[in-house]
Symmetry: C3
Subunit: 345 residues, 3 copies
């Protein structure tokens, strides 16, 4: 299928890569990733152009990569530097490399036109560096579902009442309307549930006992990053919509890596202003998220299975779909505009 290629995607957590060879698949490209002896991350097409053996089946000779079949060797720029038994090296023996950037213990990869790769555009949030905030890497969920299905679930507060009744939602929110703003860089969907009992999560952190005002803000940055701002404050404090940092606030970040038309990796982590420095709290929050995201996985894989077999059938839209409709339109526009750019090159 077609993807938005001119974008930074997450290749993995920094801890996933070492001075050895890892094979990953992103936007259907097979890629081999390794760190050089000095720790720099290198990403290269995972296929020797000679006889197509995945280079990840070869080995590192210093910082160069040697194919496991006939020893053809490539440097960090993908140029062939050795053909055993042959002196002259053809220029056609060249492997594509991908721009890579590491930030906040995350490895980002640029999948499109290299001349457009700008590391200043990589996703960031000030809270990563602020006192009073804790950043914690969660897990990588492998879903047998297209990334568009996974992403639209992340701009959809309405499903929470039905899919996550014991962790992230409750029946109190079933009929609370959802607001949308589709005009900015991020598509935003949000709602407040005022003056109702705390849900499981906030009963634990920080331990609310009386009614709270609860919010869910979903920011979806096309093509594949979502930030869920999710919190509660004691109802008696009557905080304003823009005073959310005064309550208990948690950002759940989801970095989606489209693997192929029906596989997606969702790497998630969180930033929070509660229980800072408390490792036990981090583990508990992880466990709660794992329960919730396993519930999403079940739904999203079942939908994919239906889509694999349906033909010419479109979903019937309802009012809560504004975010996902805007998101899918944005993706279609991005793909169209990349195709137009390519054809004028």
């Amino acid at each position: 299928m077609e993807y938005v290629r001119n974008a930074w995607y997450v290749a993995g957590w920094s801890s996933e890569f070492a001075n050895d060879l890892s094979a990953v698949k992103i936007l259907e490209d097979n890629i081999v990733i390794y760190r050089t002896s000095k720790g720099r991350v290198i990403a290269m097409e995972d296929r020797c152009p000679h006889r197509f053996l995945p280079l990840s089946m070869g080995k590192l000779i210093g910082d160069n990569l040697q194919c496991g079949y006939h020893g053809v060797t490539y440097n960090c720029e993908g140029h062939c530097v050795r053909i055993p038994g042959q002196k002259k090296i053809q220029k056609t023996l060249k492997v594509r490399t991908y721009p890579v950037f590491e930030q906040h213990d995350i490895v980002w990869i640029w999948m499109g036109d290299k001349s457009l790769a700008d590391t200043s555009e990589i996703f960031d949030m000030p809270q990563f560096a602020q006192a009073g905030w804790e950043a914690h890497q969660g897990d990588a969920i492998h879903l047998t579902s297209n990334y568009l299905n996974v992403a639209e679930n992340l701009v959809d507060p309405a499903h929470v009442s039905f899919v996550h009744p014991t962790t992230l939602g409750s029946s109190a929110s079933e009929d609370v309307p959802v607001h949308f703003d589709t005009s900015g860089d991020a598509i935003v969907a949000w709602r407040w549930i005022r003056d109702s009992p705390p849900i499981g999560f906030f009963k634990e952190f920080p331990g609310y006992k009386t009614n709270v005002d609860r919010w869910h803000y979903y920011y979806l940055y096309p093509p594949s990053i979502a930030v869920i701002d999710f919190g509660s404050a004691d109802s008696k404090e009557q905080i304003e919509e823009n005073q959310r940092h005064l309550g208990t606030q948690l950002f759940a970040l989801h970095f989606l890596t489209p693997v192929s038309s029906n596989r997606t990796i969702d790497r998630w982590m969180h930033l929070r202003n509660v229980a800072v420095g408390d490792e036990t709290a981090s583990s508990k929050i992880n466990s709660m998220f794992k329960v919730a995201f396993a519930e999403d996985k079940q739904i999203l894989e079942a939908i994919q299975e239906q889509e694999d077999h349906l033909q010419n059938q479109n979903p019937v839209h309802i009012s809560i779909d504004k975010g996902s409709i805007a998101y899918r339109r944005r993706i279609a526009d991005l793909i169209k505009s990349e195709a137009a750019d390519n054809s004028t090159m």
Copy 2:
């Protein structure tokens, strides 16, 4: 593939459905089946038109069915009765329902044009209600084979000598010719094996020790029901062809449910005039049939595997194929006539 849709198929034994959600697949349609609080069986397309989640992954709210993704809810007629967070309900949010009828502990489903569903046409036999007869539900065999292959095996007395030499047939019958009558509602194939030792089955029920006259009558009702009238009588009694009830008679009923182009469920049961009320006999007969039908399953799945890979190759017919040739022609005619009816609507 194309199926005969204007027909009653077996959705399951009555015992298979309760006041919860079952997912079944019939003629490639995904269907969710449940009983209402009063026990009525409801069958509905197993897919929410909003985001395509199977409704069988949702839950019953009273007798209504609520989708597990966003809580969209449908009543027993498939009409949407609730969209959480939204007041107006679009008419396009509608789920297809299927006519259903329950009789003799069997749930029947009509897969075609609802206006043609006539419950008086559902398969029945007087012996279900007669004294001196015992009805016993057997099992459901899942075959990886097209239902046409399974059905033609059920109008084919000739295979019995080779596929079931220890249970339903014997080498005595190998060269006994088969008779056919393809003029009525059912396609009939039959033969008598006169004055030969009883086969395994009748040695046990009722315990014949000397030679018997044995018959096999195969009635195949297109598209998918077979009745095998199968019995023996002491050869000394010299019964006529139409006096079979005087001997030991057993009707094996096969209700075929086409699942997809290469999967079929064969639910089988029997009616018998021997060992009436004897539970141990029922179990023993079941065990014998299970051995025999596992033999058929092996053959029918091997044939399907060949057919999956063969192209433009037709079977070479021999004289015992008259029943299956007539059956396949009848099916083709039914599908053609349904297509013609649909195009003039």
Copy 3:
């Protein structure tokens, strides 16, 4: 895919076939093989033309083959000799047979035009019958890879240094150039590694302790037989290229049977002039080869996986590819010439 059909392929070792039914697949044809009561090997299309049941699911009645569904029976020439319950036998009930020949405990099968089958063309080597030589059958490796990939690996001395560094090669040979002769019946690739330490194999047989001259000659006979002449001699003896029999010489024979477009069976054996009559040596040599061929299998299956997904992408050739380029051209020519012969028939 298209294959060279007018050729003798190995159907199996003689020990693989007995007086019962074996199902094999060669060039995508399903074939049933059995020995008659007198030990003759019969090979026949593995499908009854009546209802397509594999004949390998039937049984032998004397030397004839009876189908397991309706008892239709074929003789060793594939002619129908019995239809139970029917007197006249249609001529269309006929099963294709394949010419078969047994030699040196190997069963050969001719897959093409029967009128061209000439057993004098079957592969042979004088050493099978000479004193001072030991022939030993190894194993059958099942590879999920096209036979062309497997074959070209057998005319490729250069991979040995990288794929088999501990058994058949060593880094001493990495840059030693490869010679080619593509003019004869066999495509030949060879190289000598003079005056270097013995590799694992020859350290063991016969136990060289000082430097040796080592050679690898790869003879590839299209479509599917390879002979690897592989040996060493003490460097002090300074043997000529044509005096290899004076050293320790071992012929590894590979008989490739193309199963389908991505499956191949490689039956390998060896002939040697060292440790003749020594069973323990045979076992040890087998174990070494098993390690090496498992290394090839991993490479060849990974390449196949890439080829299954690549489109319109050709390998970039380097100088060591001369043998495989010639081989693939030879195969293409053979297929083309068979197609031309068929169209003028």
